[in-house]
């Protein structure tokens, strides 16, 4: 039985209390509370949660990345790393929403749903039991279905919400089908027990275990936006309110990777390693489809949505080579954190542009560098970081990821295909620079007569400043994050002692 004083449970208690209390406070005050009041409460709770998780990790009170435990959640650095990334995204989303939400209704519920979804994301990363994982997955998803449709009178927001909801429900059904097969084969829902059961499986039952692992990858793949499960994603990200798109692209999507990392252990170690090639192929398809489709977009939100599909492909490289190279999972986690901040910043910049100028079409971004200098600068830095231009943080995580693919190729004959993943990744990064550069050109080199707007949304400016500091700071000096990622990354090369 898990200790109620462990880090994940404290986070649940803190954020859960505030998340449930916000709508009640709103009702008690006759729904007259101001937008910034609720945002401040929710930011305070998130800051306390991230502070506590960070303190526990810094004070050395958590176990190194373990992946498996005898309980439903494990208080380890793996969960802590993802928790910090998710909570940072939730803070950026909440702060970036303040100006955007001013003209909307139901502020308390909006911030409360972000908090509840953040609990779900954090707990997905901490879970070591399939039932717990599923419940956390639902807690992460259900509030975002509502958030995607928060503009009730906007048809494209409705379309986004219904598409996202239907595909999300299908993904949940696929995941629970996988859980039922894993439980049927091993008699347990604990991931450690399932791994042990899979390793000792009768050979005639192995196809069923592979089916379960495949269903897990498909189910998580819907949220991660892997090709061929990506078709809902651009519509959902484009139609949702832009701050919510930041939460979806930078938060829930990354929780999918946390879940997949736990399941990859189950599949790759307990069964044989052949199917990691399948992951590699999906990685190449995902990054290519995402980047090629992004070039053809004329809408900034949609372009960012496709670019986040491309980034899912890069992260998947780490998962595919993780059984062969020790740095595979480190690189994946490093890029998850970086991408969370980069993409979060980019979508919050879109939110700022929509709030102030009400445009997202690329042709209307002309002269944005003069009209909204800070937002445009933040967007530029995040786009360059997404492309992997040194010395920004995106460069280092791509370096670790592609390096791990090359390592894996030389370390194991079974992974002789792995260096091609690095080649595909580098080519795709070059391709992505084309459309990122195009946005930057529109913003700075066109539209000379534009004048600066009277005031940029302050909350968006705050998020931009924070994320620029993060991207440039950890670009110049990435060591702390790399060390944390190494500490938090689970070692699951064949002899790592996962299988007893």
């Amino acid at each position: 039985m898990i200790d109620p004083g462990s880090t994940p449970m404290i986070v649940v208690a803190l954020l859960g209390t505030v998340g449930v209390a916000l709508p009640l406070i709103s009702v008690a005050r006759g729904e007259r509370g101001s937008n910034s009041f609720y945002a401040a409460i929710s930011l305070g709770a998130l800051a306390a949660a991230i502070g506590y998780v960070g303190y526990q990790a810094a004070a050395g009170n958590v176990a190194p990345g373990a992946l498996l435990s005898a309980d439903v959640v494990s208080d380890d650095a793996f969960g802590g790393f993802f928790a910090i990334a998710m909570l940072a995204v939730a803070i950026m989303t909440t702060a970036g929403s303040i100006n955007y939400m001013r003209r909307m209704q139901h502020h308390a519920v909006y911030y409360s749903l972000i908090l509840l979804s953040a609990i779900g994301m954090v707990l997905v990363a901490y879970s070591t039991d399939l039932v717990m994982l599923f419940v956390a997955w639902e807690l992460m998803s259900i509030p975002t279905y509502v958030l995607a449709g928060f503009h009730k009178r906007n048809p494209s927001s409705n379309e986004a919400a219904i598409k996202y909801f239907l595909f999300g429900a299908l993904a949940s059904a696929v995941i629970i089908y996988g859980i039922s097969i894993a439980y049927g084969l091993t008699g347990s829902t604990n991931i450690a027990e399932v791994v042990r059961g899979f390793a000792a499986l009768d050979p005639s039952m192995v196809p069923l275990a592979l089916l379960a692992a495949g269903l897990f990858i498909a189910g998580f793949g819907f949220k991660m936006g892997l090709v061929p499960f990506h078709m809902w994603l651009p519509d959902a990200y484009e139609g949702s309110p832009p701050p919510v798109a930041a939460l979806l692209a930078a938060g829930t999507k990354k929780a999918g990777f946390a879940a997949a990392l736990r399941v990859v252990v189950m599949g790759a170690v307990a069964l044989n390693l052949d199917w990691t090639l399948a992951l590699g192929i999906i990685a190449v398809m995902t990054m290519t489809v995402g980047n090629v489709a992004a070039i053809m977009q004329r809408n900034l939100a949609r372009m960012l949505a496709y670019s986040s599909i491309g980034h899912a492909g890069y992260i998947l490289i780490g998962l595919a080579v993780a059984p062969f190279s020790a740095t595979g999972s480190t690189g994946a986690m490093f890029h998850v954190l970086n991408h969370a901040v980069m993409k979060g910043a980019a979508f919050i910049a879109v939110a700022g542009i929509v709030t102030t100028l009400a445009v997202t079409h690329l042709d209307k971004l002309k002269g944005l560098g003069r009209r909204m200098p800070i937002t445009a600068l933040g967007l530029t830095v995040s786009l360059l970081a997404l492309a992997g231009v040194p010395p920004l943080n995106g460069f280092w995580s791509k370096l670790v990821l592609f390096g791990s693919a090359i390592d894996a190729g030389s370390a194991s004959a079974a992974a002789s295909w792995a260096p091609w993943l690095a080649v595909a990744g580098v080519l795709n990064s070059a391709l992505s620079l084309a459309y990122y550069g195009w946005i930057i050109r529109k913003m700075y080199f066109e539209g000379e007569e534009e004048k600066r707007v009277r005031s940029e949304p302050r909350s968006v400016v705050a998020v931009m400043v924070f994320s620029m500091l993060f991207m440039v700071g950890f670009g110049v000096y990435p060591d702390p994050i790399i060390q944390f990622a190494e500490f938090a990354a689970p070692a699951f090369s064949a002899g790592a002692g996962i299988v007893p």
């Binding site: 859960g16 279905y145 005639s204 139609g239």
Partner: protein
């Protein structure tokens, strides 16, 4: 005996699931859904889990399906759905389902599961409660939060907006969506306003 019951339940479950999707009347559709949920309860009986079976009947057939039925009767149907039929999409859906079912069926038939052993001891349902409060307790807490999130979310989505709020809300979506038509015009309007300012 068990085989005959299994086949009968399967026909009931799958048949009424298809009916629930295909019937044009939403009332009959939701009644067919009750048939599906009841059939699943029958499977739980066959699997020696009367406790789960009764829960399935009480929760799904008894309350959820009835709730859906009430909703359908209370809301005018044409307000919920506009019928858009696309025969190709329908065929693609059926094709995808067949491919998935054949693939999964082939994997199951190919595996070591060849027979079902009947007559095992019934599941002790007190253990379910015990597990929930010991091993699974964090999941129970999260389920409470899931319900809280669902209820607040559903209330916000279902709530009628006040006229002044509606005017404010209609302003941003037109801009944010940037769809064809009205959205574009709204975006233009705001942009010009900004420039003038």
């Amino acid at each position: 005996m068990a085989d005959a019951a299994f086949v009968a339940l399967s026909v009931l479950t799958v048949g009424s699931a298809i009916a629930a999707l295909e019937l044009r009347s939403m009332i009959y559709g939701s009644i067919a859904l009750m048939g599906t949920l009841g059939g699943i309860a029958g499977f739980f009986f066959l699997l020696d889990s009367p406790f789960v079976a009764l829960f399935q009947i009480a929760v799904y057939v008894g309350s959820i399906a009835v709730l859906i039925l009430f909703t359908v009767m209370l809301v005018r149907r044409e307000l919920i759905f506009k019928k858009v039929e696309d025969p190709r999409r329908r065929l693609a859906g059926i094709g995808l389902m067949l491919v998935f079912m054949v693939a999964v069926g082939a994997v199951v038939l190919d595996s070591g599961i060849k027979q079902v052993s009947a007559g095992g001891p019934p599941v002790e349902f007190t253990e379910i409660g015990e597990d929930f409060l010991t091993y699974y307790w964090p999941a129970l807490v999260l389920m409470a939060l899931v319900l809280a999130a669902s209820v607040t979310g559903a209330l916000v989505l279902a709530r009628r907006e006040e006229p002044d709020g509606a005017a404010a809300a209609a302003e941003i979506p037109a801009a944010a969506g940037e769809g064809p038509g009205a959205g574009e015009a709204g975006a233009e309007g705001v942009e010009h306003g900004q420039r003038a300012g």
